[in-house]
């Protein structure tokens, strides 16, 4: 080979070879350094419309699971100390079942008092009746005497007065008995009102009252929380917010595909119940403390099928609902 006829020269032989090797190394470095800008598949994907909705007109919304009765915030009719809480969160209670007991010692004392008054009034009645009987018999004795000279006129008048006074005392004692009975009844009613009972059959969702705490009747103020929250959770409903821009596109009445946050692959089909008549300002579902969004939403209520603990009250869900065909929408927006 011509290149190596003599001793290899640095400039003539080695340098070109070094240059060629350098080019190869550079090409390798460039090839290896090229960034990977390929699209990749994520490990987990968020909620996606599946089935018939995958490539059809649809409306997406976010929603919150709620009991079908909506959440009932229970208060107390009478203020007082709580002596016993009779249910636990998650209990399924039937209508009328006692939930918690407010201190009733005072009312029980009044009940005893009323019963004592009843006995007192009864005794007074008995006494008045005896006096009345004596007075009546005295009067009739005088009346039965035929000879007017046998009894003085004033004697008769006194006997008549005794009779009417003793009748009046009996009537008073009877009225006192009625009053004592009424106050006993009132004490019994209050005793009932001190036991807070379930207004409907449903699940206890939250308990924020413990024995020894003071519960306040009436207005609870804005800051305080309800003592017990309950609601009918068989079945659960879901309240889906639809952006007002999209609201006109929803095919009302069609079922929704619903999946909970974090388990987008576990989708269920929910049955349409109703649309709320009022479009309301969007309530924050993004957990931000002070979010003020001037978007209004149409709220749709759907019934969830039974799904073994997949959905819980208050949980956020993603939902897809069929939209009306695009042609209808174009016509509508053109008007």
């Amino acid at each position: 080979m011509a290149l190596f006829r003599s001793r290899p020269s640095f400039s003539r032989n080695i340098l070109p070879i070094v240059a060629v090797i350098g080019l190869a190394v550079a090409a390798f470095l460039i090839w290896r350094g090229l960034p990977d800008r390929q699209l990749e598949e994520p490990d987990e994907t968020p909620a996606r419309a599946t089935g018939a909705l995958a490539n059809a007109p649809r409306v997406a919304g976010a929603g919150v699971v709620e009991p079908s009765s909506e959440v009932i915030d229970l208060g107390t009719a009478l203020s007082g100390l709580v002596t016993a809480v009779l249910v636990r969160p998650g209990d399924y209670v039937s209508r009328g079942q006692p939930l918690f007991q407010v201190d009733d010692r005072d009312v029980r004392a009044r009940l005893l008092e009323a019963e004592a008054s009843i006995r007192e009034a009864s005794a007074a009645i008995a006494e008045a009746r005896a006096a009345e009987a004596v007075a009546v018999r005295q009067l009739s004795l005088y009346r039965d005497i035929a000879d007017p000279a046998a009894v003085s006129r004033s004697e008769v008048i006194r006997a008549e007065g005794d009779a009417s006074v003793s009748r009046g005392r009996r009537q008073l004692a009877e009225a006192q008995l009625a009053a004592a009975r009424a106050s006993r009844n009132r004490a019994r009613v209050e005793l009932n009102r001190l036991v807070v009972t379930a207004p409907i059959s449903g699940e206890i969702l939250r308990i924020d009252v413990r024995p020894g705490e003071f519960v306040q009747a009436g207005q609870q103020g804005n800051s305080s929380t309800p003592y017990i929250q309950m609601g009918e959770t068989r079945p659960l409903h879901v309240r889906i917010d639809i952006d007002e821009d999209e609201a006109t596109r929803v095919a009302l009445g069609s079922p929704a595909i619903v999946s909970p946050r974090g388990a987008a692959d576990r989708q269920v089909r929910a049955r349409f119940i109703r649309a709320e008549p009022q479009v309301v300002p969007k309530r924050s579902l993004t957990n931000s403390a002070a979010e003020r969004v001037d978007v209004r939403v149409l709220q749709l209520i759907y019934e969830l099928p039974r799904a073994d603990g997949l959905f819980r009250v208050g949980q956020q869900v993603d939902a897809f609902i069929a939209a009306r065909p695009a042609a209808v929408r174009r016509e509508g927006s053109a008007q």
Binding site: A19, L23, L29, P42, A264
Partner: protein
Amino acid sequence: MTWIAIRMLTGDRQKFYGLVFGIAFSTLLITQQLTIFVNLLNRGATAVHNIATVDVWVMDPVSRTQDVIYPMPSTALDQVRSVPGVAWAVPHLRANAAVRTPDGDLEGVTVVGVDDSTLIGLPPTMIAGTRDQLLLPNSVFVDGVGRTRLFAEDAEPIGARLELNDQRAVVRGIVDVDPSFTSQVVLYTRYSNALNYVPGTRNRLSFVLARAAPGVTPEELVRRIEAQTGLKARTRTDFAQDGVNFIIENTGIPINFGITVALGFIVGIAIVGLTFSLFIRDNIKQFGALKAIGVHNGKIRMMVAAQAGLVGLIGYGLGVLMATLFISIGGATSVDFKGFYTPWQIPLLTLLGVTLIILATGWLALRRVLKTEPAAVFR
């Protein structure tokens, strides 16, 4: 005959090395400057390139780039999900905030909020920690810039506490991403956390990241989203280009690097041209002798071409090697060069430039040789 030309060329060592140095230096200058230029421009698109799982970015119509954002109301996510052809869509938040470091310093950061449940929007590779640690409460990931900027060299960043907008944030991982153009510290956290970390404005949602369903091209999806929602949608590549264009339009970088590249070219022409003509002039007698023994001009052209080719090959090879080594080593060792790479087009461009230099100087030198009388030997 070519061999004679080569011997002629390497006979004068000073001129030969001068020529090689000239070519190598211009190659290095042009390649390296163009590479840094392209990579700096690409810094404007790192937010897009760092997320490999989405192909469409949806934003408010007035948003321009990854950092020039007008946030949208949160229902925009549902609007995008409603578009047929969207396989899925996630919320994405980018906002600036100030963070208090463990040392008590204040540092401006970009807070990135990724989807709460799927963590889509988080870069794929981690330097420390695992992805699912972001699901822990008040958890944030920092990027490489944050590692150096927020913490001392010997401090352990994992588990460190930061303070953002009066909220506690715990660093639970370091992600491997290319820094942005401004090299600002990036904190990754979940969307719901990010809302707390960023001082409140009315609307918060910066982007909706969407993926096209199978069978729908990103371009088609962009068209559908824009038609149905009235929002602005860009494909991944287009949005990356937007970021690059924003830098080109708003900074002096293109002019700066353009001047340097032009200087490299001029320096190359000057050194190589001068040395080559000097070399040819010195060897004019030899060319005369060759002509005298009957060598045609064509053969002489071949000889000069061989000389120029050898100089070009050696100079270009060494120059490209140095430039790529510089970028590779720099990218591997320095945070400032992290993610830098040599696009394959640039060495080809440089090759074109070097070829131009050699052709121009060779042609100038040849003119003299071709005009040479055989009698020049005797002068």
